[in-house]
């Protein structure tokens, strides 16, 4: 029997955004504004090699020639890129902490409050965690255990120092700096993030996980994650995000790149809960993220699962290039918008190899005055014989002031392709809610039940611990959406 979602809801009904606290640590923040000197300063603070500085500068110069994209179904207020600080280091030490004793206790308290104990209890939960606050990776747990198997799991800064060849080979290989406006910006100023390398034939024995947190005011977070799964390897990776409640908007523009070699498999799960702004639409994080993986090897598999409940604006399309023959890709998504949140999210499945298969399951939930769009592209190239895609896009509406939109694009160049698309739109009806009320279930709990039932197919794809957290989040995000 499935863990019923409802018992969590009650305790949470009084809560608003529970991660909205700030941490009082001394933070080394550079001056607001962006120019070549700032790019050089970031690179210098991180002690980077010349080639990486060159990479950043090329990206910066290219970014200057670009304009912010306007094609999304989003209303994005003008962003002053000179009013943001591009680097904030809460560890204030020149190098990252070497052991737990060196980490500021306030920081540890923060991550404990978030439910991410970095101490030895991690051993019990059997999960390795990299915690990134503002621009810097605070602590990576379990590194040594993983190292025994040859698995590299560390912050991006460390990877640049310790494994420069791997980073140089793969950084920007899936998402080039010319890819889009935010990718160029990230490539110029990216601060930290996680790096994962799974060697040939190794099955990663634990979930790898990164928690991102924006703490400092007026900063942007530009992390960069790179995952490489070599032949016959397997890894499951989870990313979680939170931010304090602030009246002003915060910018988050990340890049995730994944490379999957022959017969390897990568599962990437996200529970995104950046601060969504208040009920009047004030504040909140702008989440402009480029995520892409390539199934480079034959018989490789990549699976994206995302639960998106936070952010004032979300612009995000975790995508997959199915280059290897017989490769498989999946995209499972639940996106919730409430109040004045806006989300334009979906995926791209680019079929290049033969006998490639992709599955898209997108569940949008809109409430309040929010706008929720699914945007997806399925492309089958000329030589991708027998490619298959199945897409299912469902929208659930709560109330009558929100919007749900679906923009499926198909671009098929091979006549052996089989592409299916199904879409539904439904509404939680007054009658359904009243039926629950009559059986003794109050309206908020009833919505929690219905929404979790609706999103079950996606939630079930998450690793167990996070499935429970995601269920709670779905209910909390929709609080006060009726009534």
């Amino acid at each position: 029997m499935q863990e019923e979602p409802n018992k969590y809801v009650k305790e949470l009904t009084q809560e608003k955004y529970k991660y909205g606290f700030t941490t009082d640590v001394h933070t080394d923040i550079i001056e607001k504004g962006l120019n070549e000197d700032v790019v050089r300063l970031i690179s210098e603070k991180k002690g980077e090699p010349e080639w990486l500085l060159e990479f950043r500068l090329k990206a910066y110069r290219y970014w200057l020639t670009m304009e912010m994209p306007t094609w999304a179904h989003l209303n994005i207020p003008e962003i002053d890129y000179q009013a943001i600080s591009y680097y904030a280091d809460p560890t204030k030490k020149k190098e990252g902490p070497k052991s737990m004793e060196e980490v500021d206790p306030e920081l540890l308290k923060t991550f404990n409050k978030l439910g991410i104990p970095l101490e030895e209890q991690m051993a019990l939960s059997g999960m390795a965690v990299d915690a990134v606050m503002d621009s810097v990776s605070v602590k990576t747990t379990f590194k040594e255990t993983l190292m025994e198997k040859g698995i590299i799991f560390c912050s991006m800064s460390e990877a640049v120092r310790e494994h420069p060849d791997l980073v140089k080979k793969y950084l920007g290989s899936v998402v080039g700096y010319r890819d889009n406006f935010f990718a160029a910006l990230n490539s110029a100023v990216f601060s930290d993030g996680s790096f994962v390398y799974i060697p040939k034939g190794v099955r990663c024995p634990m979930e790898l996980s990164t928690y991102f947190r924006i703490n400092a005011a007026n900063t942007g977070q530009f992390e960069r994650t790179l995952i490489v799964a070599d032949d016959d390897s397997y890894v499951s990776y989870l990313e979680g995000c939170t931010a304090p409640m602030r009246d002003e908007n915060q910018l988050h523009a990340a890049i995730v790149e994944i490379v999957v070699m022959d017969r390897a498999e990568v599962k990437y799960s996200t529970v995104q809960n950046w601060y969504p702004g208040d009920a009047e639409g004030k504040g909140g994080v702008y989440n402009f993220v480029t995520k892409r993986g390539i199934c480079k090897g034959n018989d490789s598999k990549l699976s994206w699962t995302q639960v998106e409940t936070g952010s004032a604006i979300t612009w995000k399309y975790p995508s997959c290039i199915l280059a290897g023959d017989n490769s498989t890709a999946e995209f499972y998504s639940v996106a919730v918008t409430n109040n004045y949140q806006q989300a334009d999210t979906g995926t791209k499945m680019i079929h290049l190899g033969k006998n490639t298969r992709s599955t898209i399951v997108s569940k949008g939930i809109s409430a309040g005055k929010s706008q929720n769009s699914y945007r997806g592209l399925v492309r089958v190239s000329e030589r991708a014989d027998n490619a298959r895609n199945y897409s299912q896009c469902d929208s659930l509406l709560l109330g009558s002031k929100c919007g749900a939109h679906t923009f499926p694009y198909m671009d098929i160049h091979n006549e052996t392709a089989v592409v299916e698309h199904e879409a539904t739109t439904s509404k939680i009806s007054e009658d359904q809610l009243f039926y629950c009320n009559q059986r003794g279930i109050n309206t908020e709990d009833a919505i929690g039940l219905i929404v979790n039932g609706y999103a079950k197919e996606v939630i079930n794809k998450l690793p167990m611990e996070f499935a429970v957290e995601a269920q709670k989040l779905l209910s909390v995000s929709l609080e006060g959406s009726v009534g």
Binding site: Q2, P5, N6, S426, C436, N437, I441, L449, G453
Partner: protein
């Protein structure tokens, strides 16, 4: 148990109930009959607190409490149950999760600890037998893809799970074939105790052949115009409602 005094209620500004008076004592079965549009379903919806209806006048006391001041879910927790005429489908929510939430919310209201998964499943198995509900249905989404008869059986199953003090059966016989009718009615009878009461809303005598009423009321144009023993239902079955209209001078 239930005392309704001079109850008036509107829907969309139109007055449907025009002064209902009704007293139900513990252990009694009341039948409410009447032609279409007389206000039978409105009465049941008002009692369980459907938000579309507005009470403009009158009072309802249920087990000593002012029923109309309670939220719909608390009316349920206090022991009021409605078997819906048209049970709604809730896709994605399994009967198991739905009933577990319902049962545990009621327990919480009464200050009892939640049932564990195994206690709950055991309870479900026991109660399912009362209405011969297939275990496959219990694993499906609430009412989704159920036949008319299965939906009604599922209503009585939920009644068995929640053990209400007063149950309102709103045209539970509609859409049932004779076998389903018997199963549903026998289910209701098995659940009957000397402390629990029932209001049966129906057009037909055939349900009352199984669920024997103590008192029969005729509801007409928003008022109870006639109250008598079980023989009244037989008379209505035989003669229709015209003679009542005549009695009222219409």
């Amino acid at each position: 148990m239930l005392e309704i005094k001079d109850l008036h209620a509107n829907i969309n500004g139109k007055e449907i109930l025009k002064g209902i008076n009704l007293t139900v004592k513990p252990g009694e079965v009341h039948a409410i009959m009447g032609p279409n549009g007389s206000g039978k379903s409105t009465l049941s919806n008002v009692l369980v607190g459907h938000p579309a209806y507005e009470v403009t006048k009158g009072s309802v006391t249920f087990l000593g409490k002012d029923l109309l001041s309670l939220k719909p879910e608390d009316r349920s927790h206090e022991g009021l149950f409605l078997s819906f005429q048209y049970p709604v489908e809730i896709p994605g929510v399994s009967m198991v999760n739905f009933m577990r939430a319902a049962v545990n919310e009621q327990r919480k209201y009464k200050g009892l600890p939640a049932l564990t998964a195994s206690e709950f499943l055991k309870l479900m198995r026991q109660k399912r037998e009362i209405v011969e509900l297939d275990s496959k249905l219990a694993n499906r989404s609430v009412n989704e893809g159920f036949s008319g008869g299965e939906k009604k059986r599922n209503e009585i199953f939920q009644m068995a799970m929640l053990e209400p003090k007063l149950s309102i059966l709103d045209e539970t016989d509609s859409g049932l074939d004779i076998d389903a009718l018997r199963i549903v009615a026998e289910g209701v009878n098995k659940l009957k105790t000397p402390e629990t009461s029932c209001i049966v809303i129906t057009h037909y005598q055939r349900l009352l052949d199984y669920i024997k009423p103590d008192i029969v009321h005729v509801l007409y144009k928003g008022r109870i115009v006639k109250t008598a023993g079980p023989e009244l239902a037989l008379e209505l079955e035989e003669k229709g409602y015209d003679w009542i209209k005549k009695e009222l001078g219409e």
